[in-house]
Amino acid sequence: MTTADPSPRPVRDPSSTQSMPKSASGGLLGNLQIGTKLALNTALLLVPLGVVVGLVVSQQNQDIRFAQTERGGVTYLVPLSNLLQNVQKHRGASSGLLGGNASFKQTVTDSAAAASTALTQLEAVSKSGDNFALSADIAKLRSDWEALKGDVDKGNITAAQSFTLHTSLISEGVLGIISKVGNRSNLILDPSLDSYYTMNPLINILPNLAEQIGQARGTTVRIAGAKKLTSEDNVNLQLLLRQASTRLEDLQRNFGFAGDANPAVKAQLEAASKQAELDVNGLISLYNTQVFQSGGIKSSAQSLFAAATGPLDNLFKLYNQTSGVLDKLLQDRVSSLQRNQLLTLAFVLAAILLALLVVALIARSITRPVRQLVNVVGRVGRGDLSQQATVSTNDEIGTLARQVNSSIDLLRETGRRNVEELERSKQLQSNIGEFLGVTMDISGGDLTKRGKVTEDVLGNVVDSINVMAEELGYTLKDVRSVAKQVGNGSSSVLTSTQSITSSAENTALATAQVAQDVRDVSQSISRMASDATEASEAAQEALEAASLGQQAVDSTLTGMQSIRREVQSISKRIKSLGDRSLEISEIVDTISRISAQTNLLALNAAIEASGAGAAGSRFAVVADEVRKLAESSSQATGRIAGLIKTVQNEVTEVVASVEDGTREVEEGYRVASVAGERLRELSTIAQISARFAQQISSGATEQVAGVARVGEAVGRIAQATELAKISVLEGKSEAEKLQTLAGQLNENLARFQLPA
């Protein structure tokens, strides 16, 4: 944004975290897949675990190596104890030998050889196993031994010198090496109680104990050789023995601790310590009897040597046995440590595998739904809304999936509505297009065209245009008919102005004519007056004639009335004649019926008679006579009927002619009365005529005056006619203009097609 900010604000530090793009922190991690991230998580967690396991294993290895080194140290112990044993023997024997006792010679030789063997063994052990940096020490020991052995063999040194040299060789060489072995092979640091208290006797106690007893042996040998016990020797020996006792107690205590710590070795060590106790205490008591009692040393050097050598050899046997026990203990420890290590490794491996499995399952439970969702959403992105997420877990992914599904539904719904809307708008567009065509036609002049009213919003617009076109059409139709009427009207106006003009001219002629006629009329009126007078006189005569005639008519009427009365009575008598004849006719009918029945009876009688035989034949004759009678009776009645008919006919004719006569009389009566009426009317008319004639006569005079006035009026008419003619001509030009306009209007309307 480069626009100036009108309200001053504190400037933001561009390096503040707010403005840092968020993607920076997730850049590296953001590019990894979820599965990879989870795997990375697991791997990272495995690292400290691995470190810990590594440390544990390394510690275990350390412990194993420690124990193995100890075992390496233990391998030195037996050669060293053998060496100590034999060097001690050599010392004692040499002391005796160099003191002048040749019986020790064999012992010197044997022990020298044994010592050399032990030394060789020691050297071999040093070469083959752990060196413990003792090569120099061992080499020095070897050279010192060889020198000492040579000196003893050569007899170069005194007994005392030999003893001192032996002692220093033992203490510096052998015991020194034992001590160094103990230190450098970790034996001295043994961590277990049982092996420690087995080792401690071997490294510290037993060698020293043996040495003290050895020194005691040597001293006693020397004392025996000298045959006297100096107070120095006494003190030294006592000291040695006391030291040995203390050492023995230590030994017993150590073995006790070891036995307590490990019941498996308890019995062996107890037995060992018991034996050691016996040996040492036995020796001490022996020395007490044989050396320390006053009275001098009675025993020989040999016996004193032998007295100490037994316990000493036992001690060395004990030593070697204990060394074996220690080695076994160490071996067991190594095995156990190794076993533990394997178990630990196996357990850890199993635990890791199990954990990895669970982690993998959990990871899958995350990645699989996520992948499915990614797939579905990917499809949606490409436009495929047909798939739904099928994830149904209850975690955030499940919630997300449900949201995605409802979004897909919404999209589908929207898409469908969009399609519908598109359809609707397409339809609307097409309707609009159609309608625009119609409006173009309407504007082109065809006012009969109508747009189609459709379902959509356009429908009403179309109908409003339709209404407009309709109304316009009707209006224009009216206009057109009015125009036509105007056109017609103005034509007829023109025609009538023409006729008016011509009739005005006619009127002018006519008025002239009228003036003439007026004069004629005046004359004829005068003539009329005189004629009227004559008519009055004639009327008077007519009146008189009429009254005479009236009298004649009256008498005629009276005569006709009497004739009518006579005729009416004749007619009445004739009618009664007719009635009589009718009565006769009825009687005749009766007779006729009777004769017919008689005839029938006679016939029946004849039939019966024919059946009756001879008696009947007479009856038959009678019956036949009766039948003949009936027949002639019916003939007679027939003739009578005929006569009556004739009479009736003649009566009817007479009646008819009488009625004719009556009618004619009536007619004459009517005519006479009409004539009488006419005569009366005539007289009335004559009277009236006479009056009229009088009036005419008097009126005629007035007429003449009136006619003169008429003449004047006619003159005025002529003037008016002239004026009318002028205004008619003006009207004509107006009518012509109107006609032209009407024609123009029609032309304008011609281009419209209008409704019928």
Binding site: R450, T454, E455, V457, G459, N460, D463, V467
Partner: protein, 119 residues
């Protein structure tokens, strides 16, 4: 019984409306597409007319205007019955002279209660 004329372009619609009306004792004159409506009015004058709007040929508004112009039929109340149901459609129909308006789809109750107001 009062007579109702119904004008529609669908025979189905005519039948349906007819059945509703006959069940309520109205006499019914159905006229398909409004053809011959004027003749029917002249011979058998209805008391009220139900008129559809969108039809082929003459549409409802045209027929309504023709009815209102004709002195024999201009007093017969006309109710428009149409699926065009916007306010503008209703106002336009009433402007043209209809007395009321029923939108499709309709319920029988609506039609009958609207009819009752004018018959």
């Amino acid at each position: 019984m009062p007579r109702v004329m119904i004008i529609d372009d669908s025979t189905a619609e005519l039948k349906m409306m007819e059945s509703i009306l006959i069940s309520k004792s109205y006499a019914v004159t159905p006229v398909l597409n409004g053809e011959g409506a004027e003749e029917q009015i002249a011979t058998n004058r209805p008391d009220i007319i139900l008129l559809d709007v969108v039809m082929p040929g003459r549409n409802g508004y045209e027929i309504l205007r023709a009815l209102k112009r004709n002195p024999t039929s201009k007093d017969i109340p006309v109710i428009m019955v149409s699926s065009k149901g916007e306010d503008t459609d209703i106002a336009w129909g009433k402007r043209q002279g209809a007395v009321d308006y029923v939108t499709k789809p309709y319920t029988a109750e609506t039609v009958l209660s609207t009819l009752k107001k004018y018959v």
